[in-house]
Symmetry: C2
Subunit: 176 residues, 2 copies
């Protein structure tokens, strides 16, 4: 229940680099919708489901969205975003912190496009309202059920942010 | 994909009062873990899974947590919290905005206590480290799958915040 105390749990690890990315990829796999939280100018938080690209996690997450949506305005004001992934049937919960930026890079839109997006953009990939949302993930935490209790299992830190230094955990510390 | 555009969807509704609470209760039912997002002093967002009380939603959500946890410090600095509920198997996603406050009201702790909490507090309900986290929900949004597409179905506004006024939606507006 307490993140700070969970860091002393037996199975808690600090991961970074390729190993950290691999762990996040493994956890996010099969979760097709995450919740993206942004901050509005008045300090309010807001969150909405976003379709996740079916690609292994490599430190960056990409989304397609409508350029006129509230989250786009919010991200232009404050880049902080949080992505949360929940899979209750497996008792796994993942939270990724990052910085978001918005563009209308047509090449990237074409690369990310898949037929699922037709549900939101019936006019197809050339719809001028489509924007690309890039989230550079700086760190992440995840929790899994250990018997009857959800415990924080890993903290992932992107080396770019910490200069490669990560705090040493109770039961493991990996720097790739 | 865009909350603003979803508000013009055919099935979109604005709810408030008892009807809004009933809708949230119905959606949250069966989701035993939500993600609670808080804001730290440096503007970072953080999120962690929290056990939900098994009670119908009535505008306030209660949690037990450790008084020494980071979220408690964060809430003392900034009361904004966001609770997100995800049930991928039913394609339902719920996001509740609120204001959180922390206390160590022993009567409330005893009222909220159930044996599940022993996983986090093995010393039981008298553990002096247990704190109560009260979240007064001000508004909420939810999305459900409509054929192949997740659409925002309802916006709920607590009357206390808006003075009973809610914006009129495309397909319905209810004020109890």
């Amino acid at each position: 229940m307490s993140e700070r105390d969970d860091q002393h749990a037996k199975d808690y690890k600090e991961l970074s680099g390729a190993e950290g990315q691999r762990k996040i990829a493994e956890l996010a796999k099969g979760i097709h919708i995450c919740m993206m939280t942004t901050v509005s100018t008045d300090g309010e938080l807001s969150s909405r489901p976003m379709a996740v690209q079916d690609e292994p996690f490599n430190g960056v997450m990409w989304f397609l969205t409508r350029s006129t949506s509230e989250k786009v305005d919010e991200i232009k004001q404050d880049q902080h975003v949080l992505l949360t992934f929940a899979e209750p049937s497996d008792s796994k919960y993942l939270s990724l912190k990052g910085r978001a930026s918005v563009s209308q890079d047509r090449t990237k839109i074409k690369e990310l496009w898949n037929p699922m997006y037709k549900a939101w953009f019936p006019n197809g990939e050339d719809d001028p309202l489509i924007a690309v949302l890039k989230v550079e993930v700086t760190e992440g935490d995840y929790w899994e059920a250990s018997s009857s209790k959800l415990v924080m299992m890993t903290k992932y830190l992107a080396a770019a942010v910490t200069g490669g230094e990560v705090p040493v955990g109770e039961s493991g510390h990996v720097l790739v």
